[in-house]
Amino acid sequence: MIEFKNVTKRYGDKLAVDNVSFRINEGEIFVLIGPSGSGKTTTLKMINRLIPLSEGYIYFKEEPISNYEVYEMRRDMGYVLQQIALFPHMTISENIAQVPQMENWSDEDINKRIDELLEMVGLDPETYKDRKPSELSGGQQQRIGVLRALAADPPVILMDEPFSALDPITRENFQNDLLELQNKINKTIVFVTHDIAEAMKLADRLCLFNEGQVEQIGLPEEFIESPASSFVEQFIGKVNQDLNLTAGELVAELSVAETESEYPVVKEQADITEIFRLLSNNEAVLVETESGPKKLSRSQVFGYLADKRGVTS
């Protein structure tokens, strides 16, 4: 569907992307991952020509992207931004309607499509259609951001760290929703993230960038089983640590005080997934330890995890 052949992007003397070649297959979720400044976002934006490439070729449907009329080509590639960037002066339906309007759909078709899309992400069309983006929560806004990209049913969706502005719980839900959605729509999705856990969860195939170069491309399990370099090993190492944490280890790490309150109680051995599940409905959980129950609040847990991931990103 999309192919990079010896693509280089230079800013002055600085190489942002250095002689990169790979192929993205139709219908897969292809995740570009790497630390910040590694060239992954630049790579994504070169696909829809928001950033012009310096050398090499990018092919879309077997044609060099420079052969397409740029605005029309972009309408074949839905675009979801990290900043969400819904147009604040337009209603939800106007935001979604932009691409279909440019494609000269009839008003009737556009309205039908808007209702269909809102229902697909579980937002009641009558309630939300005429609201302004500012009346929606951050999570709802990014759902609309995704719908705007999907509106004219493009074969490709480009997503630039789409969930990083959301809180961790919403992010988890979004990842699940995206996988579910992909089962229905089966698009070619290019997804940029710096979060290795997110990447592992979503990717059909992963592409790890480091300093403008591709370190490894492959299935997620290949990254764990046969990392191509020590950089890869180190980068994905973090995810295992994070996901293997237990309630007891968290308590030890976070030096929490003893408290008596009405929160759900977990054992010391409970793994982090169970803590996430409880925290999605409660402000905190109580961990049973030898020295009595200890409170782990939501903000403590996520703050801790964010700090740890901050090291990799």
Binding site: R75, G78, A85, F87, Q98
Partner: protein
């Protein structure tokens, strides 16, 4: 309050007319400023280097004082609404331009990226995303421009553009607060009205806003252009400075010329300053105006007077005009609107004062109140008087021209400088002290034309020269009094004088 209501009811017609003029000038200027400023502002967002230069130029133009800008327009574009509109547009351009530029520049870059990323072409991005988001900032600029225009348009009256400034300047000139308020309140209300209008337009859809603005423009342009379409053939324009005296005299010129020739005369009185009129005459915007001999020497040709004798000053002025400027003056009237010293009539009688020299006998009792200018003028102000007559007053107070009369009425001062034909001399029952030593140069009024114009219109010379040697200081004071204080129409006063003196039938 009562006097205000009275002023309002007598000036209702004038108020309506000046209000309509004011709306025309303001609306057209604002529209042009927007038509130039908004697209230019948008264009500048594409070229940062150029943007700074253009915005700085606009900023420099705005630092030109509004009166100076209006004055600069005359040699280029003459007098009337056209140069006023150009000056106002120049004045209003900066806020429109800068706010458009800033508004578009400050649109969140991620929104621009989103618009590009989903495939919007530049024009659609501008219309659908950038302009709507920048709209509040752009409108703030347009509203600032609007307030600037409506305020500055009151000065446009000085170059003959009309508008509410006519009432305000007349009020200032006559020290008539009611008139000032009568002009100022509608100007303020107009600013509020325009603001409401702009808000309404802001909330309309593009199409409705454009239709509304265009139809308003057509209506206003039609009203503005209607008078221009009527035939102007055989018309002579005679102008005068601001004040009752030029208004009365130019009306006399009109009556005399129209009585004896086939020409019609358009009186353009109330123009701001000598330089405005002089430039208007030079550029043929007007055909002639009332000028004073002393002013010709002092301000126009800038030669010192060789004598203080009236006829010699007149001859010198005519010579200078004819040789250097191809202009000339017809014969002057009698009154001499020069500086003079005046006292209350009863004070003069008590102390037997007739001339300035007589002041010497009561030197210790004199408490003068002079204008700053008079107190300061070396050649023909207090220093010259003091030297020529050996007068040395102990406590001279300087004050605003109009305040002097209140001060002399309350007895705080008992000697003022004045112009010989000021209406206030009559109003406050004062007499002029004769300048026996001719310290003050003569300022005699006469119509001034280009020589070429008189050669082409010789028929107007005789009617105008009928005023030669007519109208004394007292008669002029009296007529000024009737117009400024009693609010009679200059044209009525002029006609009455001409009839009484058998200058017309």
């Amino acid at each position: 309050m009562n006097s205000f209501i009275e002023t309002f009811s007598t000036r209702r017609g004038e108020l309506l007319q000046t209000l309509i003029e004011h709306i025309q000038i303001s609306f057209i200027s604002l529209l042009i400023a927007v038509i130039i400023g908004v697209p230019l502002g948008i264009l500048l967002t594409k070229t940062d280097k150029f943007a700074e230069v253009v915005i700085n130029i606009a900023a420099v133009m705005q630092t030109i004082p509004s009166l100076a800008l209006l004055g600069l327009m005359i040699p280029l574009f003459g007098i009337g609404e056209f140069p006023a509109i150009i000056a106002l547009v120049i004045y209003a351009l900066l806020p429109v331009l800068r706010n458009t530029y800033t508004g578009i520049k400050e649109v969140d870059p991620s929104l621009v990226e989103a618009a590009e990323g989903i495939g919007m072409k530049p024009l659609r991005r501008l219309v659908k995303v950038e302009i709507p988001i920048a709209m509040p900032v752009m409108m703030a600029g347009i509203r600032t421009a609007m307030v600037l225009i409506i305020g500055t348009a009151t000065l446009a009256a000085l170059i003959g553009a009309g508008g509410l400034g006519d009432l305000i300047l007349l009020g200032i000139n006559r020290n008539n607060t009611d008139l000032i308020i009568l002009g100022a309140i509608p100007a303020a209300l107009l600013a509020i009205l325009f603001d409401i209008g702009l808000r309404l337009i802001q909330n309309m859809s593009y199409r409705r806003a454009v239709i509304t603005v265009v139809s308003m423009f057509v209506v206003i342009l039609a009203i503005a252009l209607a008078p221009l379409l009527t035939n102007r053939g055989g018309e002579i324009t005679i102008a005068g400075k601001l004040g009752s005296e030029p208004a009365i005299i130019t009306n006399m010129y009109k009556i005399l010329i129209e009585e004896e020739t086939d020409y019609t005369v358009k009186v353009e009185d109330g123009l701001g300053q000598t330089s405005f009129l002089f430039n208007a005459l030079k550029s043929d915007e007007i055909d002639g105006y009332l000028e004073f001999t002393g002013t010709v020497l002092g301000e126009l040709v800038k030669e010192p007077a060789e004598s203080n004798k009236e006829s010699e000053v007149y001859d010198q002025a005519v010579d200078a005009l004819e040789s250097g400027l191809d202009m000339t003056m017809l014969e002057p009237m009698k009154f001499n609107n020069t500086y003079t010293l005046a006292v209350k009539k009863d004070f003069a009688e008590e102390n037997n004062l007739e001339t300035i020299e007589d002041l010497k006998s009561v030197e210790d009792e004199i408490r003068p109140g002079f204008t700053m200018e008079f107190n300061d003028r070396q050649e023909d102000g207090y220093p010259a008087v003091s030297e020529a007559y050996g007068l040395n007053f102990s406590d001279v107070v300087t004050m605003e021209p109009q305040l002097r009369y209140q001060a002399i009425e309350s007895g705080e001062i008992n000697l003022v400088d004045a112009y010989a034909t000021d209406a206030e001399l009559r109003q406050f029952d004062m007499v002029i002290l004769e300048d026996t030593k001719r310290v003050f140069p003569p300022y005699q009024g006469a119509p001034m034309f280009k020589q070429e114009f008189l050669e082409e219109h010789p028929e107007i010379i005789d009617p105008l020269n009928k005023l030669s040697g007519k109208i004394t200081d007292e008669e002029m004071q009296d007529m000024n009094y009737r117009v400024t204080v009693e609010d009679e129409l200059p044209n009525d006063v002029a006609r009455e004088y001409l009839e009484e003196n058998n200058l017309i039938e």
